[in-house]
Symmetry: C2
């Protein structure tokens, strides 16, 4: 049966390995790349190739070009507060708020036994070691999604910190109604949480 030339087929295969891209979309993207000029293709392949030069921060596991990431190297950041997040994407979101001036610790995922992601695959032991080594840590903020995997991971980290008798304050992001939301349309779990966690004014 007639098919694409082998080089085109190989490109479709490689693209379809990327997350969120099915076979039809990979085909469309490959044929699009095929029609672009040399410069476009060079820029794309070089950008991918250059990513091999990117490392992870030895301290917080954020993506970084050096041994320490920009945040860990920044003397204006408070090293005594560590915000624990799932991925570098979360850091960008939190930094955009401008409300946090501490440091981070990236887990690189959440506990999910069904997908074979166990506590040892995440940077949890590294977090415990960091709290012990750096000594002056005052607070651990667990900025982890309120999902089944997120809650499992949060509980696991809390118990690991307590087992190691580490004397740090542990906090979680506040649950409640999103800004600009309407009580009429809030889902019952979110509204229930907002009622339970109500604050005196």
């Amino acid at each position: 049966m007639y098919n694409y030339p082998i080089k085109v087929q190989r490109l479709i295969n490689e693209i379809s390995k990327l997350p969120g891209i099915g076979n039809k979309m990979a085909e469309r993207i490959a044929l699009y790349i095929l029609r672009q000029d040399k410069l476009f293709i060079d820029n794309l392949s070089r950008a991918i190739d250059d990513i091999k030069l990117i490392n992870f921060c030895q301290r917080c596991f954020n993506i970084s070009e050096d041994k320490l990431c920009e945040i860990c190297k920044d003397d204006n950041r408070d090293p005594s507060i560590i915000c624990v997040v799932e991925s570098p994407l979360d850091i960008i979101s939190i930094e955009k708020t401008g409300k946090f001036t501490g440091t981070y610790h990236i887990l690189n995922g959440l506990i999910n036994p069904l997908n074979n992601i166990l506590p040892d695959n995440l940077k949890i032991q590294e977090l415990i070691k960091r709290i012990k080594d750096e000594k002056n840590i005052k607070e651990i903020i667990l900025a982890i999604n309120h999902t089944v995997e997120g809650d499992t991971t949060t509980l696991y980290i809390i118990s690991a910190i307590k087992e190691n008798l580490l004397n740090v304050k542990i906090t979680r992001l506040a649950k409640g109604l999103p800004t600009g939301s309407d009580i009429k349309y809030a889902d019952e779990i979110t509204l229930g949480q907002a009622i339970m966690e109500r604050k005196e004014v």
Copy 2:
């Protein structure tokens, strides 16, 4: 403001230029690539780079590694019937049916003045020249989508063939009800076409 290292940001930018990929998805794909091993990254960047070696068939403009594509080189194909299609994707679909043994001519798009795609941007003049040069062409099948752009392009090609006084049969793909469809649920335009183009049995 804190952002990704420049190499990561550049990869996100390049990926977001691909069709159907927004900024958030480009971010997700870039961070996914970042976490893969050297082999995965090498395979992807090389597959993209290799696409520069792909050419277009000099005769039908299908994608090809040589001057002529596999179909044009194949002696078992009937050169007197040319199926005119929008893109190489259509060839794969038509070949899968196993119902066509002629050759193709790829337009590389459809007339769409709003997107600045005019008849001269497509391989229409090349089709007219091909019919004149190859002399033995008997039939031109216009396998073009039944959309506004498709119908405009179809009409343009029909009039270009007639203006050049070329003696070839021109056909279009049959319109009608899709196989396995239910008359109750067919849209009125499709059903109307199926009634108008009904056949004696």
